[in-house]
């Protein structure tokens, strides 16, 4: 029994979401093989080989895979899955994994289980549905199980300690259907939202983008990441990659501080598995208080600077 895991990376660094996905593979059992598909991504293969519990690394280094275009990477993954007889194909439920894996599943003529949060047995998994308001236990009937993994549900395996072999894959699939034009990547010295130990998020109550500086000051003191509600993103206060929720990022930090966020079900879906939740809101009826461990009814423009000063 073997699992093919799609490594998430940017051609130079292996992303932490990969480690959570390897943990899900470990819960399934059997051999774990990491696929590093990219361009000039030798260094990533080196890091992948050190991940605890990984038996082998497959390195597909070609210009066609440089930007993770699904049209090119999906046939590679499908071919590997078929030719090497993998029973499981796993990827992190990140935007890259979500973009790629259903295309792989369809090429293999199998279904996909999205966003699993637990492994119940070799063919049965749990996954949240309806914005996390229900958890479905689903059995796969397919010979090859194609699965995306919710990172927050699996503790990452150690990034070091393994000593897997690296094997080059020479197959090149260049569908010629799509091309990379450009990207706008948010540069930040703060931890990534999905990997942060502490997150402070702002909502519509922040009033404008400049006021997010108040949250950034707190974040600097706590080593926290800064997130946002959809309303704050839609209003143009902050970029889309900061959105937490059903249709944004799913986070589960040790501490989540929600500031000026009402607590709509779609927002809760993205953060209610946080260990400790703090809500600061001037409306004592705001639904966010129903999930908050510590609620502070206050005007954020008073409370947040005071919080910063007392840290």
């Amino acid at each position: 029994m073997a699992t093919l895991i799609i490594a998430e990376h940017d051609n130079s660094i292996l992303k932490p979401a990969t480690l959570n996905t390897v943990a899900a593979a470990a819960a399934i059992g059997g051999d774990a093989v990491l696929l590093v598909a990219g361009e000039g991504c030798q260094a990533v293969a080196g890091q992948a080989a050190q991940v605890a519990g990984v038996n082998k690394v497959l390195l597909a280094d070609n210009a066609a895979y440089g930007h993770q275009l699904a049209e090119n990477v999906a046939p590679l993954v499908a071919e590997l899955a078929k030719s090497a007889g993998f029973e499981y194909v796993l990827a992190p439920a990140t935007t890259t994994g979500k973009n790629l894996l259903p295309r792989v599943a369809a090429l293999l003529d199998v279904g996909q289980l999205s966003d699993i949060v637990s492994v119940e047995s070799a063919d049965t998994f749990k996954r949240p549905i309806y914005a996390g308001n229900a958890i479905a236990t689903v059995k796969s009937l397919d010979a090859i199980k194609v699965i995306t993994v919710r990172g927050t549900a699996f503790d990452p395996v150690a990034a070091e300690g393994g000593s897997a072999s690296i094997e080059a894959v020479t197959a090149v699939h260049d569908a010629g259907l799509s091309r990379f034009v450009g990207e706008e990547v948010a540069k930040s010295d703060r931890p990534e939202l999905t990997a942060a130990r502490v997150i402070i998020s702002g909502g519509r109550g922040m009033g404008n983008g400049e006021n997010f500086a108040l949250l950034e000051k707190v974040a600097d003191k706590l080593g926290a990441a800064v997130g946002a509600s959809r309303a704050a993103v839609d209003a143009g206060f902050v970029p889309n990659d900061m959105q937490v929720g059903q249709t944004g990022k799913i986070v589960a930090p040790e501490l989540y501080i929600a500031v000026g966020i009402s607590g709509a079900i779609q927002h809760l879906a993205g953060m209610k598995d946080s260990k400790v939740i703090v809500a600061i809101n001037k409306d004592e009826e705001a639904p966010i208080f129903q999930v908050a461990d510590y609620g502070l009814v206050a005007d954020l423009f008073d409370a947040v600077p005071e919080l910063e000063a007392s840290l």
């Binding site: 259903p102 199998v110 996909q112 229900a134 958890i135 009937l141 990207e183 839609d234 007392s310």
Partner: protein, 269 residues
Amino acid sequence: MLTMQAAPVGLDINAKRQNSMKVLVTVKRVLDYNVKVRVKADRSDVDLANVKMALNPFCEIAVEEAVRLKEAGVATEVVVVSIGPKAVQEQIRTALALGADRGIHIETENSPESLSVAKLLAKVVADEQPGLVILGKQAIDSDNNQTGQMLAALTGLSQGTFASEVKIEGDEALVTREVDGGLQTLGLKLPAIVTTDLRLNEPRYASLPNIMKAKKKPLDVKTPADLGVELRAHTELLSVEPPAERKGGIKVGSVAELVEKLKNEAKVI
């Protein structure tokens, strides 16, 4: 950054496609996004009896985008398709009221799994030959986020998922995608499959006259057998349970008390 290269295929072919570009939009009937579902007592599924149903919000955005492409003169016809029991015709009519031209209803007993939906849609794509297919990025009931990507695989077409901007230029769709790190722009060879993210547009409301007009727009009903597709189950739903409830916390009276609790009780700072 967005300078275009010469189109690789003959220009007159492009011109022809541009002149007659049909857009296919898929719509799914789901529970209204404001409704908080409950799990049935026997844990067999969620309880959807008497729950308000609506057009999946991402599909509404898909319809809006298609209608705007038509209004901008880029698309000539907007065809909307839904798969499911008879009730989905309600959502097709909503899409027609928002400006789609005609509907296709593929009648099935329940809403089939993503791969089956994609197989049915692939047949519709083969029949209709659209220049662009727009789907929602995810259905807010099953939260799968799969169908568009699967359809792209089955049709061998390019895919632009989680789109926040779509521009048609020559024989390409320039699609800006919302990705974890920020935004990414891809050039997709047409015909292309696009799935919508929330910020692609703000859907309009259907006016009463348009709702009336929609009732007269053509709506074809087909079965999977008509399309030659045999549906197969890929998963079995064993049970559904409510998520672990968070126990309510406390209200603190001041920032000082909050900091004290976080330090000494929760020990998280």
